[in-house]
């Protein structure tokens, strides 16, 4: 039964990786840019969620768990706006400047966002208000248990990913997004406003990332300013593992990374979980350099 337990834990962490990996992969799709600032946008979701919850619960202490809903919406909107702003200010002017300049610009934005968080909130660990997330556990037979929080997290994550998949596959704007990720000039000749599509990607990716940041913080209860870099890097790796640029790939890559990590930690040793996870990543890349579902090589950074 330990296996089932680890699998559920792995899926939960994997869902977080997937949500964040989507942001990397969508931006890579339309701009062929590794958006290194994405992890820190995700981290800002955690901080803004903290402030939002503290303010709302101070004003309306009886709101309890209901406080989460409006705060999630505010966090999503704010982080999405910051994402659009970052694209406009730091990436768009460099669109024709080759591959390297935008990547460096993205790293610069990452450091700025991280330093801002540390200077504003301090370097210490932050704790989310307690008692607002569901606490129950459900026995699954044997000694395996799934917490209500895990069920909620998984349900929300799958719902978001399913909705995004349908949006990209079935709608006109989603199809245009796939077209733009194949060829900007040809997309323009179709009458697609490529800048607008890229802006939409920078709404969706960081919006999801912000929500994920808040969910992660709610799930773990505490975090610090290194969250963006450590967690973001893992999610980036998940995106590569699944095939960067490929949306179902990011979902799959996140899940696999989460499961490998937890199984490795549970069965072998927590200290060795990263070693195990990355050895498997390297093996996957040796046999499938474009990632599990990727068709094209992520040729340059």
């Amino acid at each position: 039964m330990q296996f089932i337990q680890q699998l559920i834990n792995g899926l939960t962490i994997g869902a977080f990786y997937s949500l964040v990996a989507l942001g990397y992969t969508m931006v890579y799709g339309v701009l062929k840019l590794i958006n290194f600032s994405h992890g820190d946008l995700f981290m800002w979701g955690a901080y803004l969620g903290l402030t939002g919850l503290n303010v709302l619960l101070a004003l309306l202490p009886q709101a309890g768990a209901w406080a989460i809903l409006p705060v999630v919406i505010i966090v999503m909107t704010t982080v999405a706006l910051v994402g659009v702003l970052v694209e406009r200010v730091a990436y768009r002017p460099l669109r024709t400047a080759g591959r390297l300049a935008p990547v460096i610009s993205a790293l610069g934005v990452a450091f700025i966002l991280e330093s801002l968080a540390r200077n504003i909130y301090g370097a210490s660990w932050k704790t989310y208000p307690t008692g607002i997330t569901p606490t129950g556990r459900i026995a699954l037979g044997g000694d395996a248990r799934v917490s209500v929080m895990q069920i909620v997290v998984l349900a929300i994550s799958f719902l978001i990913m399913g909705a995004l998949y349908l949006f990209v596959q079935r709608t006109r704007t989603g199809t245009a997004m796939r077209a733009v990720s194949l060829d900007h000039d040809i997309s323009r000749l179709m009458g697609i406003d490529v800048d607008r599509i890229i802006a939409i990607v920078f709404v969706i990716g960081p919006g999801l990332g912000g929500v994920a940041g808040m969910i992660v913080a709610l799930y773990y209860g505490s975090f610090d300013f290194t969250l963006g870099w450590t967690f973001g890097l893992k999610a980036f790796i998940a995106a590569i593992m699944g095939g960067i640029g490929n949306i179902p790939g990011a979902m799959l890559g996140g899940m696999i990374l989460g499961i490998i990590e937890t199984l490795g930690a549970g069965y072998i040793s927590p200290q060795w979980k990263d070693v195990i996870a990355y050895v498997i990543l390297i093996i996957i890349l040796i046999f499938r350099p474009t990632g599990l579902l990727g068709e094209r090589m992520a040729e340059k950074l």
Binding site: R172, T175, A176, R178, A179, L182, D183, D185, I186, S187, R188, L189, M190, G191, I192, D193, V194, E295
Partner: protein, 238 residues
């Protein structure tokens, strides 16, 4: 009245002066062809008209409106469709999705899209058979059909075709040129860029000969077909 009028157009690729004061005109209902060697500026001319490249100098007038400097997606809305060289199929989108992207400017107007799609399938029944296949799995000829069909999905007034015969077997070239005539007969003005000068001049009403970014010769297709210089340089005669 001229549907498309280009005056003194100068375009640069970085420091390369690709178009050096180009002048040309296309009347409503015509098929006009641009012929010339590689690097003469034929593709650059089309890319400048469709807004992919901004001209440094000069005017492009379409239907009485200045369109130079407009972004490419606006120019499509104004009624110019460009089927680019090398086909430019969205390889991981289905044939249907490729066609729907061609109709992007129609927004959610389902009726108009359906009507245009029926027209395209009427011209290219093969595309209807292949509609749920991925674009990248089509043969060269089918991809060319898709490129032209996709450009027609916006219901353009002016259709610009860049090398539609490139890499196709002679039978297919004939079929494609037949369809171009048919499209023109249904009221779409055509600006055709071709390496295959003989086939293009047989199809077109008028032609322009480009050399190093300038028009060096122009006239009716018949005049150009009989012209000594054209015969020597572009029709392979001695």
């Amino acid at each position: 009245m001229a549907l498309l009028k280009i005056e003194n157009l100068h375009t640069y690729y970085g420091h390369v002066h690709a178009l050096k004061g180009l002048n040309l005109m296309v009347d409503e209902g015509e098929i006009v062809t641009l012929i010339g060697a590689n690097g003469a500026g034929k593709t650059t001319t089309l890319r400048t008209i469709s807004g992919l490249i901004r001209p440094r100098e000069g005017r492009i007038e379409f239907n009485g409106q200045d369109i130079h400097g407009l972004p490419a997606h606006r120019i499509v809305e104004d009624g110019i469709s460009h089927a680019p060289e090398g086909r430019g199929i969205f390889s991981t989108l289905t044939v249907m999705e490729n066609l729907n992207m061609g109709a992007y400017t129609l927004g959610g107007d389902k009726e108009a899209i359906e009507e245009n799609r029926r027209r395209v399938f009427d011209l290219f029944p093969r595309l209807e058979e292949r509609k749920s296949q991925l674009g990248g799995t089509l043969s060269g000829g089918e991809q060319q059909m898709l490129t032209i069909g996709r450009a027609l999905m916006a219901h353009p007034r002016l259709l610009m075709l860049d090398e539609p015969s490139l890499g196709l077997a002679p039978m297919l070239v004939k079929a494609i040129f037949h369809v171009i005539r048919e499209i023109n007969a249904r009221g779409v003005t055509v600006l055709l860029v071709e390496q295959n000068a003989r086939a293009a001049l047989k199809l077109a009403h008028r032609g322009y000969v480009l050399e190093t970014g300038r028009v060096v010769l122009s006239g009716t297709a018949g005049e150009l077909l009989r012209d000594e210089r054209v015969r020597k340089a572009y029709l392979g005669e001695r």
